[in-house]
Amino acid sequence: MTAADAAGALREPGTQAAAARPPRRGRANPNLVIGAVLVGLVVGMALTSFVWTPYNPTRVDTPARLAGYGADHWLGTDKFGRDVLSQLMVGARTTLFVGVVAVGVAALSGTPVGVVAGMARSRWLSEGIMRTNDLLLAFPALLLAIMFGAVFGASTLTAMIAIGVATVPTFARIARARTLQVMSTEYVLAARAAGRTRLAIALRHVLPNIFSLLIVQASVSFAIAVLAEAALSFLGFGTAPPTPSWGRMLQEAQELLSVAPRLAVWPGLAIALAVLGFNLLGDGLRDRFDPQLDDRR
């Protein structure tokens, strides 16, 4: 489920566009377009939910329970009579919130750590950082979140911190690898010869150069975060009721699988499309930023 760890550790696979015919200049990259549309859909749903939802998503309406598709409730209602579409819309908010915080935590702490490891003069420092990183890799996001939940109690906060912490090594690794690359380029060597401080070099040369890579990773990590959040809510380690969340909608749908499978279909579709969107967006951005992957000689 968490391809992100792998994605960070390795050169990402040649993506669709890299493998396809060399893209002509100006021709839209399908990954980028589809990814952006799907992500836009999720974001749009979340934003709309702030100003409008068909119903209050937590409003219990017992007479209308388990209503099918219809004019009153477009996507029907659940076993408490809550409107499925409204829950989906507000659930998008939860998903994005967890993703933004988790990826933010990971990027904002992992990147500086990786840059320091890449620029450190002392081998001890850089080795120490990378070993700590490897240790952290032994604790996948889901496990970490369950540990956090066991000790501090399950909540949205523990879930997103756990996912964020588990994603730190991915960013640290990428940042370090790219920093090492940038540090050996001629313009950095020249800047060092001219007596620029390390901080100045980091700000002027390193960060701008790793930025695009970080954006790509952020998108891919976001997909992982969405998956992890869904799994945690499904297990009851994420967002607590009554706040709607896609993972918990699925969990509630499970016992009704024989009665109302559609209750599982919609949140399931939402999760899958969101993950697909962020993954495709990441691929598309990678193709855009890294034309080397183009398979022309």
Partner: protein
């Protein structure tokens, strides 16, 4: 190196699960308890000793499967973990084999035919597969095979020794739900590894010897492509193990995951600590085996050690 990681991981797990939450005797008796009975319980749990001693006591029992006694049920933890671990291993092993059986051919075809519709279709399918969480796949499979067609049971578990036929029937759906998602992820990496290999000069040499494209790829490409794929496989096995936690919940399977979640629900922290440690050891062990696999596959690394 491996042992150092193990030691470090055990300290981390101990510190997180045993030190952070506070003294289990106090937790068990509540804040209003009188100091005397707290002290009594502490003596029984052994938590009146210095932390370093407690840690050494715990960690020295691990190699022999002694995980201590639960503070909640007072049952020994070790045997439970071993029982449950076996269940989870069945699930994970079957899922990995399924994933490899699907992903290697699919990845190879997707790479070789990457300019044709069939290759693009396979890549697209793998993208979609990656986006489906294993528990969702599990629910869909239950909805179809158990509820709709009534072909297979929706959940439960029987040990293989007791009723092999039922064991297999029960294993199919959970193994599929874990395996399908892993297959999708692996397909992507196999494809990219093969695409890289296809560009290599030695493959052209093989063709120049008179090998057909598939034959050259199988004889000279697969092993070279295995190097990056093994890395991912290692990471995947680790996430598969964790993913099993969720799938066990969907299919009501009494594996390590269920034990972990029950432990959390009962606030049985020593049990949780034990299960977490087992999972972390498994992850580290897989990483270590990946390193060993590199050396087996690649003669260039042999000299270096």
């Amino acid at each position: 190196m491996f042992l150092a990681s193990l030691a470090l991981a055990s300290v981390t797990v101990f510190a997180f699960m045993s030190v952070l939450p506070g003294d289990p005797a106090r937790v068990a008796l509540g804040v209003t308890a009188d100091p005397e009975s707290v002290a009594q319980l502490q003596a029984r749990f052994g938590t009146d000793r210095p932390l370093a001693v407690q840690y050494l006591d715990w960690v020295s029992g691990l190699p022999t499967g002694d995980f201590g006694r639960s503070y909640v049920t007072e049952a020994t933890i070790g045997p439970q973990i071993v029982d449950r671990l076996l269940v989870t291993l069945w699930l994970v092993a079957t899922a990995s084999v399924l994933a490899l059986l699907v992903a290697v051919p699919a990845g190879v075809v997707a790479a070789v035919r990457h300019r044709r519709p069939s290759g693009a279709f396979l890549s697209g399918m793998s993208q979609v597969g990656i986006a489906i969480p294993s528990f969702l796949a599990g629910m869909l499979l239950i909805a179809l095979f158990a509820v709709h067609w009534g072909l297979l049971p929706a959940g439960g578990w029987t040990p293989p020794a007791q009723d092999p036929a039922r064991f297999v029937r029960l294993l199919i759906l959970p193994a599929l739900s874990l395996g399908v998602v892993q297959a999708a992820v692996l397909t992507r990496y196999v494809r990219s590894a093969i695409l890289d290999v296809l560009r290599e000069d030695y493959l052209r040499t093989a063709r120049a010897k008179g090998m057909g494209p598939y034959r050259a790829l199988i004889r000279h490409g697969l092993r070279n492509a295995a190097i990056p794929v093994v890395t991912v496989l290692g990471l995947q096995l680790a996430t598969l193990l964790i993913g099993a936690v969720v799938v066990e919940r969907v299919f009501v399977i009494p594996g390590l995951g269920s034990l972990l979640l029950d432990g959390v629900a009962n606030r049985d922290l020593l049990l949780v600590q034990g299960v977490v440690m087992v999972l972390v050891v498994a992850v580290l062990l897989v990483n270590y085996l990946v390193d060993v696999a590199y050396v087996v596959i690649d003669p260039r690394l042999r000299r270096a050690r």
